[in-house]
């Protein structure tokens, strides 16, 4: 064991709030990171992860104050270093890959020039050699055609490419420590797998130490050697990632892991109750006590100390012995996936196409000049959603999932095809739909912050659909709203609150309550849990499942998260670039034969088992728009057949009556095991 590269001791950081008080958001954190080591920092949002990550660069957000402790990097005291020396160090020996790369790149400068700037500042290269080295770095993060790409502006790149540019910039100075703040959040699973592969590779090549900050347990399991779990600004458990995932000592870590949705288990996990305290607002005892099953008066009275419990294992809990030996919370054994084929069809899409292409004069002129219309964004979608069932649409961003939901909601006109709701024609824009038809189709959105009007109270939000669809009086609405809130596990006192006063999970419950206030037959759920913390995800999904069982409502469930889909859906349709690739029941889609795209999605999905790496299975390419003919997945398919896949539309191959795959490969070929991916292993566990 060599001398640690980074040493953090008793670090406490606070923010000054509007009322002039200082609230500590990182408390008594001590860490060491050796050269070449990969440390993961995990916890729910608002637990101080990002503040801590930035402090590792000697940086505090505006309003931040160091209340105590040191951050020592190779002997240098970062929190007391003179600004010029600190600037040389940052982006030099210590580099940051920020969360949102798209926003961290300068929009008005070509990406090559941005990388070259780092080289000029930190490595003192001249303009020509900096440019040449920048291209090498862009090639090093496996960006296609780096010469050309260096001259592009950030907005001309995809999210995954922007993230790679940010990584190339961070690597430009050959840092000894790389801090990655949610490096893959917001990326597609396949892109995430490619980026994580790349980072592994870089770690091995350069020997840089890495700090991964993430709320995503799958990413952490895969990318870190050691792990620190944060709760309310404190480290509550630490140790090697492998040990921590195998056995959790702290009830919080255990709660996080049991509430996580798992790709290898088709069940809804138990949600951890409660939510973390607002940053800086923790009681005098253990901050986790209000949510803890093991809490007793000792926990409320005295804060537990961080104990070393053997090796490098640390835990901050009075009752870790009891917690560690307690039985694992039983997974909810709710029988699912039984409603697939019996019930009557509710929503039927027949050969639906949607296009965002311009209409009118411009399109007419283009056509007159001999330019064909671009292929529709969404094409030839035929789906049936049955009463009381859940149909999931799965795919990466840009796969047309939300477009289909918008078409069903009447917000996007159909280009061609038929759309029916319980037999009646639904292919009408929303203004032309009868009131009752609008009532029967409701929406819930991804981002809980944007889906509720910040100036309306919860009561007003719930009242509107009731008045509109049922003409109830204000008093009647109130009674019904209270009943609805109680069903959402929110009390009547929420009626007078504003969305700004609610947590993300509470907002999403209100959005769900608003949808149910209309007594709909189908709810279009567009990524409803992807903006929520792990523990809240499980709670919201459980709620949706309960409401479905009670009311027989159908869900069109849009998600990019295969673990979530596996837990909630009955049927799955896999989409790529607006075309269907595979459709079947959950059990069928998650077992061979796979469409190659389904296989690459499954292979790339992170698994909560350290050491078993999710791996990119598809080709690392970014295609343009959907092709006019041939298979849309052609560019990225590792199993493509030349030239058939490029020029001929693939045929539908029927596995059985309910499971179909659209591919040129035969069913026998598709059923061949996908070698060397954890997919087969993960799936093997469940069979």
């Amino acid at each position: 064991m060599n001398v640690p590269l980074l040493h953090v001791a008793d670090l406490t950081i606070g923010y000054r709030t509007r009322d002039g008080m200082v609230r500590p958001v990182v408390r008594d954190v001590s860490l060491t990171i050796a050269r070449g080591e990969r440390l993961g920092i995990v916890g729910e949002s608002g637990c101080g992860k990002s503040t801590l990550a930035l402090a590792l660069l000697g940086y505090l957000r505006p309003g931040g104050l160091v209340l105590g402790g040191v951050v020592r990097f190779d002997g240098l005291d970062l929190l007391r270093l003179a600004p010029p020396a600190l600037q040389r160090l940052r982006g030099g020996r210590i580099a940051l890959v920020p969360q949102n790369a798209g926003q961290s790149l300068t929009p008005s400068m070509p990406v090559g020039a941005q990388v070259a700037e780092v080289l000029a500042v930190h490595r003192g290269l001249g303009p020509a050699s900096a440019r040449a080295r920048a291209v090498e770095l862009l090639a090093g993060v496996r960006l296609p055609a780096p010469q050309l790409l260096a001259r592009r502006y950030p907005h001309e790149l995809s999210g995954g490419q922007q993230q790679r540019v940010a990584i190339a910039m961070a690597l430009a100075s050959e840092p000894e420590l790389l801090v990655l703040d949610e490096p893959t959040t917001g990326l597609d699973v396949t892109t995430q797998a490619h980026v994580l592969d790349l980072l592994d590779d870089i770690g091995e090549r350069t020997g840089a130490a890495m700090v991964y900050v993430s709320h995503d347990l799958g990413v952490i399991a895969r990318a870190s050697d050691r792990l620190a779990v944060m709760y309310a600004g404190e480290i509550v458990e630490g140790g090697s990632t492998r040990d921590l995932f195998a056995e959790q000592r702290h009830p919080y870590t255990r709660g996080l892991l049991t509430s996580a949705l798992r790709l290898d288990r088709p069940v809804l996990p138990q949600a951890m109750p409660g939510q973390p305290p607002a940053p800086g607002f923790h009681g005098s005892g253990c901050a986790f006590a209000p949510r803890c099953a093991f809490a007793d008066p000792i926990c409320v009275a005295a804060p537990p100390a961080l104990e070393v419990i053997g090796g490098d294992r640390l835990v901050r809990c009075h009752h870790w012995r009891r917690a560690a030996t307690a039985e694992t919370i039983e997974l909810d054994p709710r029988p699912r996936h039984t409603r697939v084929n019996g019930a009557a069809p509710l929503i039927e899409l027949h050969d639906v196409s949607v296009t965002y292409a311009r209409r009118g004069t411009v399109a007419f002129l283009r056509r007159a000049l001999g330019n064909p219309d671009p292929p529709p964004t969404v094409q030839a979608i035929t789906l049936t959603l049955r009463r009381g069932a859940t149909l999931a649409l799965v795919g990466e961003s840009g796969s047309g999932k939300s477009t289909i939901a918008r078409a069903i909601a009447g917000l996007q006109p159909l280009h061609s095809g038929g759309l029916r709701l319980g037999g009646a024609n639904l292919a009408l824009p929303v203004q032309r739909r009868p009131v009752d038809m609008r009532r029967r189709v409701q929406l819930v959105f991804q981002n809980p912050d944007a889906s509720l009007n910040p100036r309306h109270t919860v009561g007003e939000i719930l009242e509107r659909p009731q008045r509109l669809f049922f003409g109830l009086t204000r008093a009647e609405c109130r009674t019904r709203s209270i009943a609805l809130l109680e069903q959402m596990r929110l009390g009547a006192h929420y009626l007078d609150r504003f969305p700004g006063q609610l947590s993300g999970g509470e907002k999403q419950r209100v959005a769900i309550a608003r949808a149910f206030a209309a007594e709909p037959e189908i709810i279009l759920c567009d990524e409803v849990v992807s903006a929520l913390d792990v523990s809240v995800q499980a709670a919201v999904l459980n709620l949706l499942a309960e409401l479905q069982a009670e009311r027989g409502v159908s869900y069109l469930f849009i998600s990019h998260d295969l673990a979530v889909v596996r837990a909630i859906a009955d049927q799955v349709a896999v989409l790529y670039q607006g075309r269907l690739c595979e459709i079947g029941s959950v059990a069928q889609v998650y077992t061979p034969p796979f469409h190659p795209y389904t296989a690459s999605l499954l292979a790339a999905a992170p698994i909560l088992t350290p050491g078993r790496r999710a791996r990119a299975f598809d080709r690392d390419e970014t295609p343009g728009g959907p092709p006019a003919r041939g298979c849309p997945f052609y560019h990225r398919c590792p199993r493509r057949i030349e030239p058939a896949c490029a020029v001929e539309d693939p045929p539908w191959r029927m596995v059985d009556e309910h499971h179909a795959i659209r591919c040129h490969l035969s069913l026998d070929q598709l059923a061949e095991p996908v070698a060397a991916t954890p997919l087969s292993i993960a799936l093997g566990e469940t069979r």
Binding site: R18, A409, V435, R438, V441, A450, S451, H456, T457
Partner: protein, 291 residues
């Protein structure tokens, strides 16, 4: 006003007490508010406060310097300047408040509506707004006043025509922040009419911006009305008015500067106070315009 109502109009749902605390913490904003309240009280109570008649002529006191009896001095007709300055802002203040309110309501509505509708209608409306904005303000005022005569209603109309287009632009930009949000999509999916979406969903969200606009426009209109009076298109003599007083007394500037100085201080303090209040509100509501 209870805390719930104010929470509606702050970006982070903070209570009335927090808004007031932030506002009060700014010395400048507090000073502005005090001066503004003084102006309003004086304008309302001027007849009670004035020691003399504002129009009584006294040739013996023509151009008399400030004294205990006449603290602001007298003009060339011997009229008591204090008694003229006190009610001298009534018309400017009334037109500025009414004009700003109308500009904000009309401009705000048009801006939010077209910001929501978008497309060709929005393009067309915004080009008209651009055309109105591109006419120099004073020129537009003079054209309207010359064309329609110089009643207070005409001045008010002129002010609204000059300042509402700017408000429309600001309101449209503010609405654009909310139009793409999902709560608007949810309203459209419920089948709400554009008018309902604008009034129920968008309007409460842009009200904070419009409140700041109101204070800013009020200060500009107060200045513009005084300017018109100065040029002889506004308030008619012998009604006391600051702009008019500056025009009447400027030829005596060397002999009796008090005839000009006190009206200028009055206008200046009103405009500065309105601006300080506008900034203070913006900051307290989390809409810091300097950032």
């Amino acid at each position: 006003m209870d805390a719930t109502i104010i929470a509606r109009y702050t970006t982070d749902g903070s209570s009335l007490r927090e808004v007031w605390r932030t506002f009060r913490h700014s010395t400048a904003a507090l000073l502005g508010a005090i001066i503004l309240v003084l102006h309003l009280v004086v304008a309302l109570a001027a007849p009670l406060l004035a020691p003399h008649s504002p129009t009584a002529i006294n040739p013996e006191l023509a151009l008399a310097a400030p004294s205990w009896e006449h603290p602001f001095g007298n003009d060339r007709f011997g009229r008591d300047l204090l008694s003229r300055v006190l009610p001298g802002g009534r018309i400017a203040l009334a037109i500025s408040l009414a004009g700003a309110a109308l500009s904000v309501v009309l401009g705000g509505f048009v801006g939010v509506m077209f910001g929501y509708l978008g497309g060709l209608a929005d393009e067309a409306a915004m080009r008209i707004v651009d055309a109105l904005i591109s006419i120099p303000g004073l020129l537009l005022l003079l054209v309207i006043v010359t064309g329609l005569g110089s009643g207070y209603a005409v001045i008010l109309l002129a002010m609204v025509l000059s300042y509402a287009p700017g408000v429309a632009r600001v309101a449209r930009a503010a609405a654009h922040e909310f139009v793409p949000r999902d709560f608007i999509t949810a309203a459209r999916a419920r089948g709400e009419s554009p008018l309902t979406v604008v009034m129920r969903e968008l309007w409460p969200n842009v009200l904070d911006v419009l409140l700041v606009e109101f204070a800013m426009r009020a200060s500009w209109i107060a200045l513009a009305v005084s300017g018109l009076s100065f040029l002889g298109f506004g308030v008619n003599p012998p009604t006391p008015d600051w702009g008019l007083m500056i025009a009447e007394n400027r030829s005596m500037l060397a002999l009796a500067p008090w005839g000009v100085v006190f009206p200028i201080l009055a206008i200046g303090s009103l405009v500065v106070a309105l601006n300080l209040v506008a900034d203070g509100i913006a900051r307290a509501l989390g809409l810091d315009r300097s950032r």
